[in-house]
């Protein structure tokens, strides 16, 4: 085995595969390390895949990528114990030749992506756990030590695509480890149903798909969300909350998931399903303020490892793919100028990220995490309850004059949050969103 490469990519998830593929296509020698039996065997996501960001890497991915359904309908639900208030958007415009969003099953998708990466010329070592980064006397990263025999490999630059819980970069002090307040723990089950049952229950046909994302009393006052994504022959059903909130409340993640599944609005959708897998994963939730230094001498960090996740819009894999691609392009620039992989030269990567949608979106929403995390009871318990009561009051016809009904609803909001609280919440939300 050649023990020296232009680049070593640690991890074969979305960011690592995007980086490895781009680097190899540009002619660099790339070693990719993956600790699982195959790429995807350790990866968990909801999952929604955004076509635009993959098109920029593999333009004709639709020819053979394992895609489940393209999304034509989004349902946002606000739930209390017995109801949900929904905002739905469904459009036939999403039935297009090159759809914008797809559901995918990560293990299968990652196997496909990994095949493309290897076809591009990357040497992939599976069943290989990266143990630590190696540095020279000047503090520049020069390689990786793995758990293979004679497992030291060297490269000009290491791409850290090691995921949200990556050990290498945090242990080397290149970035802080994730904090309980900046990561959510999500659990998920794969519920199998006949294809025609899914299509009937969700009012879809062919490859059409639906997403349900729900907040409310289901998270018991914690910052969290439940979801259902329709795949071809199964539903991804999950629930996630901030780790710091879980630690405070003593709730079990699987208990919350069971409660979500038993909700009267959810239960009929799952009836008769066969569960074939239960999984869990951390999700970066810290937003812009939690994004660490993206490069240094001999290294770059991409994807979840760099906390690149837009929690408000629930986008992650596209940020991962984009960061992997941009980092690879920056490395290629440095390499093609025959320059050294120093922090100053690799700065092309964070600079290009700043100019991209990734950092622009994260910067726009930089105050959202703090708002939602510190006011979680208001946003995830109080308001859903008030909204549910308002809707029930509005719809139930019982001889009460409308003016009295409306005044009761307004009174309930004022009494529960107070005028000051309502105004503060509205202003803070508007400012954080702006």
């Amino acid at each position: 085995m050649v023990e020296r490469f232009d680049c070593i990519v640690v991890g074969a998830g979305m960011a690592g595969n995007a980086a490895a593929y781009t680097l190899a296509r540009k002619g660099l020698s790339v070693l990719q390390l993956e600790r699982g039996e195959y790429a995807g065997s350790k990866n968990v996501q909801g999952a929604i895949m955004y076509a635009d960001m993959l098109e920029k890497i593999i333009p004709d991915f639709r020819d053979d990528a394992p895609l489940e359904r393209h999304l034509i309908e989004q349902r946002f639900w606000m739930m209390n114990e017995h109801s949900h208030t929904g905002m739905h958007y469904r459009s036939d415009a999403f039935n297009e030749a090159r759809p914008n969003r797809y559901t995918i099953i990560r293990s299968q998708f990652d196997k496909w992506f990994s095949r493309k990466v290897r076809e591009a010329g990357v040497l992939l070592l599976t069943e290989t756990t990266a143990l630590e980064l190696l540095f020279d006397a000047y503090g520049a990263c020069v390689g990786v030590r793995t758990d293979r025999e004679d497992g030291v490999v060297h490269a000009d630059v290491v791409v850290l695509a090691e995921g949200v819980n990556g050990l290498l970069g945090t242990r080397a002090g290149l970035r802080p480890p994730p904090q309980p307040e900046t990561v959510a723990l999500a659990v998920k089950e794969m519920h199998f149903l006949p294809q025609e049952t899914i299509e009937a229950r969700f009012n879809i046909r062919g490859d059409e798909g639906v997403v349900i994302e729900a907040v409310g009393t289901i998270s018991k006052g914690m910052t969290g969300m439940g979801f259902i994504y329709t795949n071809r022959e199964c539903l991804s059903v999950g629930m996630g909350c901030l780790v710091s909130d879980f630690a405070k409340t003593g709730e079990t993640p699987y208990g919350l998931l069971e409660k979500f599944k038993a909700h009267p609005s959810i239960k009929p959708l799952l009836e008769g399903s066969e569960v074939k897998e239960y999984s869990a994963h951390l999700i970066p939730e810290g937003g812009f303020k939690a994004v660490p230094q993206l490069c240094g001498d001999g290294w770059v960090v991409v994807g979840d490892a760099a906390q690149l996740n837009n929690a408000v819009h629930r986008e992650g894999s596209n940020l991962a793919m984009t960061s992997g691609r941009i980092a690879a392009e920056a490395i290629f620039q440095v390499k093609s100028r025959k320059e050294k992989m120093t922090k100053a030269n690799l700065k092309r990567y964070p600079d290009a990220m700043d100019a991209s949608f990734v950092m622009k979106d994260l910067r726009k929403l930089k105050d959202m995490p703090a708002l939602l995390h510190t006011n979680s009871r208001n946003f995830f318990l109080t308001y859903p309850e008030l909204v549910s009561r308002a809707m029930e009051n509005y719809l139930r016809v019982d001889g009460t004059p409308k003016r009295e009904k409306e005044s009761a609803t307004i009174k309930a909001f004022r009494k529960t949050r107070g005028i000051g609280g309502l105004v503060t919440d509205a202003v803070r939300l508007a400012r954080a969103w702006r």
Binding site: R35, E127, N165, Q179
Partner: protein, 98 residues
């Protein structure tokens, strides 16, 4: 109540595939007199139910059903109560769907 929950999480794990590295747990709980609040929280928080309280009132971990998610690392590594590593290459959970 918590026993009931444990039964349920074990049933969930039954669906999953693991390659267990027998005798080489990748997560270790440090010796302790009295578990901290964060370590105690892992008993309910661990999504695979790997943490339990023994008769001596100390927290134990059994990593056979572990998802390698890192929640316990996030909560308990900073204080040194948990020593956290990934399993050796090829071992641990193996997601069919992910």
């Amino acid at each position: 109540m918590s026993a009931m929950m444990n039964v349920r999480v074990e049933e969930k794990l039954y669906q999953n595939r693991y390659v267990v590295d027998a005798g080489r747990g990748h997560i270790k709980v440090a010796q302790h007199e009295k578990p901290s609040q964060n370590l105690l929280a892992m008993i309910t928080l661990c999504p695979a139910g790997c943490y339990s309280l023994n008769e001596a009132g100390k927290v134990e971990v059994a990593t056979d059903g572990c998802f390698e998610c890192g929640t316990c690392r996030v909560l308990c590594e900073p204080t040194g109560e948990v020593e956290w590593n990934y399993p050796r290459g090829g071992y641990g959970v193996l997601f069919k769907f992910g």
